[in-house]
């Protein structure tokens, strides 16, 4: 029994670039989505849609309904859907691809840390922190860009570095100045929370998928038949839940940062365990 290592194993080299098994799986997923886009566009019509187009449209409208529950605004939902929907579908596809027979089990002998070892050719893309970190960083950076675009550069950054509020408070009562100072301190905490968002988003998904991979490997090495099946089903559910959690949190971040701050009240958001959080439709109302 070999428990999969935390880092994805390199299985090939393209010049100086090392191709890992997780990267290879991600490429397959990218290919799947390009194929999907191609299929959608081949017979795209605004008249009576075919079966395939109807199915994709139904999925889209379903997701749009979910996004509406968080944003409460159809125009905003339509702006956020491409990112949120793609996050959900891509993560879901990557996670479920991990349960395809052969992924993680078909191996190739490679040189690993000076030793020859068997490394799987395909490993779940989200079992590689690089993938989840890339998506998390993109999500958080996008949410800040959305904030800047929708409420303005200074209004956006005043949420974190409350200098504007502080200067305004100088013309008011001393108590207001104290409140403004406290807000500035809270803003600094909020700013570190933005970094924490990236860490929590990426590590949660990576941890769940990597742990699932380890769990399945252990189960198959203990009993090869029947016993691992419930765990495989569990992995499918975990894959779905994690895709939902990641995309829902991304949606909540986008929504919160695109909203205008009301007066001195600052909205903030706890981001401890995403599972319960991501499924709550009005997480943005938490203060």
């Amino acid at each position: 029994m070999t428990i999969p290592p935390i880092a994805a194993e390199p299985i090939a080299h393209l010049g100086s670039f090392t191709v890992t098994n997780s990267l290879l799986t991600a490429w397959v997923a990218v290919g799947l989505f390009i194929a999907l886009a191609f299929l959608v566009n081949r017979k795209l019509t605004s008249g009576a849609p075919g079966r395939f187009q109807s199915a994709v449209e139904a999925l889209l409208e379903f997701m749009l309904g979910y996004v509406d529950q968080v944003t409460g605004d159809r125009a905003k939902s339509r702006k956020f859907l491409p990112l949120v929907g793609t996050l959900f579908l891509f993560i879901l596809a990557c996670n479920w691809m991990g349960s395809i027979p052969g992924v993680g089990s078909v191996t190739r002998t490679v040189l690993l840390e000076g030793k020859l070892e068997n490394a799987p050719i395909f490993r779940p893309a989200n079992a590689d922190l690089n993938m989840t970190l890339a998506m998390a960083l993109l999500t958080v950076v996008t949410s800040h860009l959305v904030g800047i675009i929708s409420i303005g550069f200074f209004a956006h950054w005043n949420k974190f570095i409350a200098l504007g509020t502080f200067f305004k408070s100088l013309r008011k009562k001393p108590m207001d100045i104290v409140v403004a100072l406290v807000e500035m301190l809270v803003g600094v905490i909020e700013l570190s929370a933005e970094v924490a968002k990236i860490a929590s988003l990426s590590l949660r998904l990576f941890g769940n998928i990597f742990a699932g991979e380890v769990l399945i490997t252990v189960m198959y090495s203990l009993v090869a038949y029947v016993v691992p099946l419930p765990f495989t089903v569990l992995e499918l559910i975990v894959g779905m839940v994690q895709a939902t959690v990641f995309s829902m949190l991304a949606l909540v971040y986008l929504t919160i940062l695109s909203e205008k701050p009301h007066g001195h009240e600052e909205e903030h958001h706890e981001d401890e365990m995403g599972e319960a959080h991501g499924l709550a439709p009005h997480a943005s109302e938490a203060s």
């Binding site: 290592p5 935390i6 880092a7 994805a8 390199p10 670039f17 090392t18 890992t20 990267l23 991600a26 490429w27 997923a29 990218v30 989505f33 390009i34 999907l36 886009a37 191609f38 959608v40 566009n41 795209l44 019509t45 605004s46 008249g47 849609p49 187009q53 994709v56 449209e57 889209l60 409208e61 339509r78 859907l81 491409p82 990112l83 929907g85 793609t86 579908l89 891509f90 840390e113 893309a125 590689d128 922190l129 690089n130 993938m131 970190l133 890339a134 998506m135 960083l137 993109l138 990576f206």
Partner: protein, 170 residues
């Protein structure tokens, strides 16, 4: 895995900037493809379809209203045509009656004229006959008198006698 990445915590978790960039590009490609060729065109198609549907429903409503209007107007037209026909029929009846009555009256008048004319002709004929008869009787009386008196009278006497006889006979 390169030795320098292994020293940090992130490196221990397998983070490697080259792979990170590669995965970022991967997701970026998926995002772009989905945005450009799936979400945008499909949402547009859905919008276009719902607009089309709305228009169709509105058109159907308008068509139904137009049909009801047309039915009503055609019914009205039929009704008015029927009324007109009735009116024309009645008028024709009236006219025919009047004409018949007029013809009857005319005939009666003509008959009356004919009868009067006949009567008049009869009367004048009768007078003529009486006059003729009178003159013949007078001539006969003169001839008889002459015969009786002999032919001893002068022409003047004959004439006076004739005249007086005619006067008596009248």
């Amino acid at each position: 895995m390169t030795p320098e990445t292994q020293t940090s915590v992130l490196g221990a978790l397998g983070v490697n900037w080259k792979l990170f960039v590669a995965q970022l590009i991967n997701f970026g490609v998926v995002l772009f493809v989905m945005w450009k060729w799936v979400y945008t065109p499909l949402l547009k198609a859905i919008d276009a379809r719902s607009a089309k549907l709305d228009k169709g429903l509105k058109d159907a409503e308008a068509a139904a209203a137009a049909r009801t209007g047309a039915e009503k107007s055609s019914e009205e037209a039929i009704l008015s045509a029927r009324r007109e026909a009735q009116r024309i029929l009645e008028e024709a009846q009236k006219q025919a009656d009047a004409q018949r009555a007029e013809a009857k009256a005319k005939t009666r008048e003509e008959l009356k004229v004919l009868v009067t004319q006949g009567k008049e002709a009869l009367a004048s004929e009768k007078e003529k006959m009486v006059l003729e008869a009178r003159s013949q009787i007078a001539e006969l009386a003169v001839m008889a008198a002459a015969k009786a008196l002999g032919e001893k009278m002068t022409d003047a006497q004959k004439k006076a006698l004739l005249e007086s006889a005619a006067k008596h006979a009248a």
